[in-house]
């Protein structure tokens, strides 16, 4: 027997081989070697060079490729774009998704759109943490409203925390910037061995470069000799947290570790000197040559870092800290990417499929592109075949009336509320609870507290939020209010899911469930006997009362074993 999740992942492995060819054909400028062939490099979680790339912005280039393919259809008139529109609800008629309610973000008009099928490709919900690497506009509203209309939410607590981000600098922080994972190919991650050194660095009395080689703790290389700095993201992130919690952090806030290129600079410098036939090069010459190589590879990232932090990363080791990056959880979908509401499909990061509890580098876009290019054209057609005689969907039906009224009432509540605090205030508070208690490490007590705190924030939000302006205008505070209202419900479900899963797996690390001895001491301890399932939650009218459905994970070909990066 093969279960749906396994079949879906098998399919992804099969079709994904075509993605690079597809993108090349679309004009995505992947890196080429001197022979003109596609170049590869290494990435977190693997020991071979297997990733196709476009300098430090592969994701962006794949996105632009998809955008150009979309605009081609727009030009032909096959697709009509509604930019600056936000979907606020799904309309379900006789058990099938039959349209959406949307708000025109410029005029405020609430629109009804009828449809034979609805596809949500609305991205991840990492912004429930307030601070994440996601764009400011990323949110859960579409998926959450679908959930409230009957779509199950799969594994909501599975969040990916990316190890190489620029640390938080202050309370004004609005988002976190990712430093490309490719940096871990050449950068070495360390903190001081002696806690006094770490303290001196935090107080500004010492610099990283003052710490002698022997006094540095390259903790990933120490703990994971086989993978070193290239362990998967969750492992690297937790290891950084472990060191910083133990008091070895290297910036003012104590939440940063070094990502150091000095060894790479020296290594490349020596190679360059050989290539250039420079005999007995001086140390300065080696560094000069090495910097040029590093700059060629990562120059734009180094510039970006310097811009944000105000420190030159060639002279001083970079400081990094983990940040929320991707959500593996999302709407539950079947093999056809259909949710539990017939006619409602979900693609890309918004669904829960394929990545389990832990996504590996470079695979998000692979999944998103496979879903959109290679899977949905077939599965949605299959669904529509039965609806061929349905005719246009009547948007004057009572279901549309009701859904529209609900949205208008909510908007009016926000605008008429005589509150005192801006939306961000509540969002920031929610984010802090999520990060502290449902972030890189979780425990039962913290999660229970988090649930209580989130309920309090939610109650206060509806009572005390202030949303200025009118509906009939470009009103960014109003947009945010609706999104934060949904995050405030989702956050509770995430904590419930994390609390329910009494094991550690991938991005979900429960402090009570770690290996206590043996070679894997301190690592995640799964409980396959009891938790080898997808948790699919059903909305029952209240965020705290979701119903759990279990979809078993069955493995025929491979045996479940413990991950080891030692």
């Amino acid at each position: 027997m093969i279960t749906v999740p396994a079949k879906r992942t098998y399919r992804l492995a099969e079709v994904s081989a075509n993605i690079i060819d597809q993108c090349v054909a679309q004009g995505v400028p992947f890196a080429r070697d001197y022979g003109g062939l596609l170049d590869n490099r290494s990435f977190g979680g693997v020991q071979v060079s297997r990733t196709f790339y476009a300098r430090g912005q592969t994701g962006q280039q794949l996105l632009l490729g998809a955008y150009s393919a979309l605009m081609r259809q727009v030009g032909k008139g096959a697709v009509q774009m509604y930019d600056r529109h936000e979907m606020l609800d799904v309309v379900v008629v006789d058990g099938k998704a039959r349209g959406i309610i949307a708000r025109n973000l410029i005029t405020g008009e609430i629109e009804r759109h009828g449809a034979h099928a609805v596809l949500l490709c609305t991205g991840g919900y990492g912004n429930v943490f307030f601070l994440s690497t996601n764009a400011m506009g990323s949110n859960v509203t579409a998926a959450w409203k679908a959930h409230k209309r009957g779509a199950y939410f799969g594994n909501p607590c599975y969040t990916q925390i990316h190890p190489t981000c620029i640390p938080v600098s202050g309370t004004h922080q609005s988002k976190l910037t990712l430093m490309s994972e490719s940096l871990r190919n050449d950068g070495r991650i360390w903190v001081p061995k002696n806690i006094e050194d770490a303290k001196a660095i935090r107080e500004g009395k010492k610099k990283g470069s003052d710490i002698a080689e022997g006094d540095r703790d390259y903790y990933l290389e120490r703990r994971y000799p086989a993978f070193g700095n290239l362990v998967p993201r969750d492992v690297a992130s937790r290891a950084a947290k472990e060191r910083c919690d133990a008091g070895f952090g290297v910036n003012k806030t104590g939440e940063a570790v070094y990502l150091d290129f000095s060894a790479a600079i020296e290594r490349y410098g020596k190679l360059e000197a050989n290539v250039k036939k420079i005999e007995n090069p001086s140390k300065e010459k080696i560094i000069e040559l090495g910097r040029a190589v590093v700059s060629e590879k990562y120059g734009n990232l180094f510039d970006m870092y310097e811009n944000i932090v105000g420190e030159n990363p060639y002279d001083h080791a970079m400081k990094i800290y983990p940040a929320v990056h991707y959500t593996m959880g999302g709407l539950w979908v079947d093999y056809n990417l259909q949710t539990t509401v017939p006619g409602l499909f979900c693609l890309g990061e918004a669904n829960f499929s394929d990545h389990g509890a832990n996504r590996l580098g470079a695979s998000a876009l692979m999944q998103g592109l496979a879903d959109g290019y290679f899977v949905i054209p077939y599965t949605v057609g299959d669904y529509l075949a039965d609806d061929i005689r349905t005719g246009p969907i009547d948007t004057k039906r009572p279901e549309f009336d009701a859904a529209e009224k609900e949205q208008k009432d909510r908007i009016n509540h926000f605008l008429n509320n005589k509150g005192t605090k801006p939306v961000d205030d509540f969002h920031r508070r929610l984010g802090k609870v999520m990060w502290d208690k449902c972030g890189m490490a979780r425990n039962a007590q913290g999660l229970q507290e988090a649930i209580t705190e989130i309920r309090q924030i939610r109650e206060e939000f509806y009572r005390d939020v202030r949303v200025p302006g009118k509906n009939s205008e470009f009103n960014q505070e109003l947009e945010k209010a609706g999104r934060v209202a949904d995050f405030l419900e989702l956050g509770e479900l995430m904590c419930m899911d994390a609390l329910n899963r009494n094991e550690s797996c991938g991005g979900h690390f429960r402090e009570e469930y770690a290996e206590t001895d043996g070679p894997q001491q301190g690592e995640a301890k799964r409980d396959d006997a009891n938790y080898a399932y997808v948790a699919a939650w059903e909305w029952t009218g209240d965020a705290g009362k979701a119903n759990l459905h279990k979809e078993a994970l069955v493995f025929d070909e491979v045996k479940l074993t413990q991950r080891s990066y030692k």
């Binding site: 075509n18 060819d21 962006q60 727009v74 004004h172 510039d303 200025p468 205008e473």
Partner: protein, 252 residues
């Protein structure tokens, strides 16, 4: 919080038909670690608490990727500093006591939506006119390695592909021309073997759409290249001109 005090002069405009005007906003407690947009967040937070209307501005990724942030700061698109977008601009580039003028992109083809937010969908329409390779996303294609691409061409195409469609080039150009943007898109595809078969049609269609949208003519001032956050080179405009000329000459 930091302790820089600034005097902001910000463009306020209720909607596309409103006349609009500059208004003064003193801000204090600005830290040099803040990004320019975070400084505006802090100001907006204050405005909302006072019950006033916060300043509208576009932004999304806040890391120089999406091209939506678009502020004209002290007379420069994306403000001071080379090779950065507004969201990548940090307050350490300013001094305590500075007066800072903040305006939207001003171009006929980019009407103001509200305050500092402009409608730049004209760029989408230029892209839709020809900024693509006409293949379906079916996956039934030849191997990506079947046609080797000289590294130099791939690198040049990549340089052009880094354009994020922000519109700083248009806002900077005294004529409001969209040549740098259009040239970047045309160049990327015409440098790659996959884009070559359609190059004539593409150059003609994209330039035609650009003119239709009300963008001005390029008079080679070179201002766009200086303000482009992605350092898109004027070389691409030269390439577009060649593509366009070749296409017009050989048009049936």
């Amino acid at each position: 919080m930091g302790n820089m005090k600034l005097n902001l002069k910000i463009w306020r405009q209720a909607g596309p038909n409103d006349k609009g005007q500059m208004k003064d906003y003193p801000v204090s407690n600005v830290s040099e670690d803040m990004s320019f947009l975070e400084m505006l967040d802090v100001l907006n937070d204050d405005i909302v608490r006072k019950g006033d209307d916060p300043i509208a501005f576009d932004h999304d990724c806040r890391e120089g990727i999406c091209g939506s942030c678009s502020l004209f700061i002290n007379g420069e698109a994306h403000g001071p500093g080379k090779g950065i977008t507004t969201c990548q601009l940090h307050m350490r580039r300013f001094k305590d006591g500075d007066t800072i003028h903040v305006e939207p992109w001003r171009a006929q083809a980019f009407p103001v939506i509200k305050d500092l937010a402009t409608n730049r969908s004209a760029f989408d329409r230029i892209q839709a006119a020809g900024g693509f390779v006409s293949i379906n996303t079916s996956g039934n294609l030849v191997d990506g390695n079947a046609v080797p691409i000289p590294k130099d061409d791939a690198d040049k195409a990549f340089d052009a592909a880094t354009c994020i469609g922000c519109g700083a080039c248009v806002a900077t150009c005294p004529n409001g021309s969209a040549m740098l943007f259009t040239a970047a898109k045309v160049s990327q595809l015409s440098l790659l073997p996959q884009g070559k078969p359609e190059r004539k049609r593409r150059a003609l269609a994209m330039v035609e759409q650009m003119d239709k949208e009300g963008f001005g003519n390029c008079s080679n001032t070179g201002a766009c290249e200086i303000e482009c956050p992605k350092n898109i080179s004027l070389e691409h405009i030269a390439r577009l001109n060649r593509e366009y000329l070749a296409a017009t000459v050989t048009k049936e």
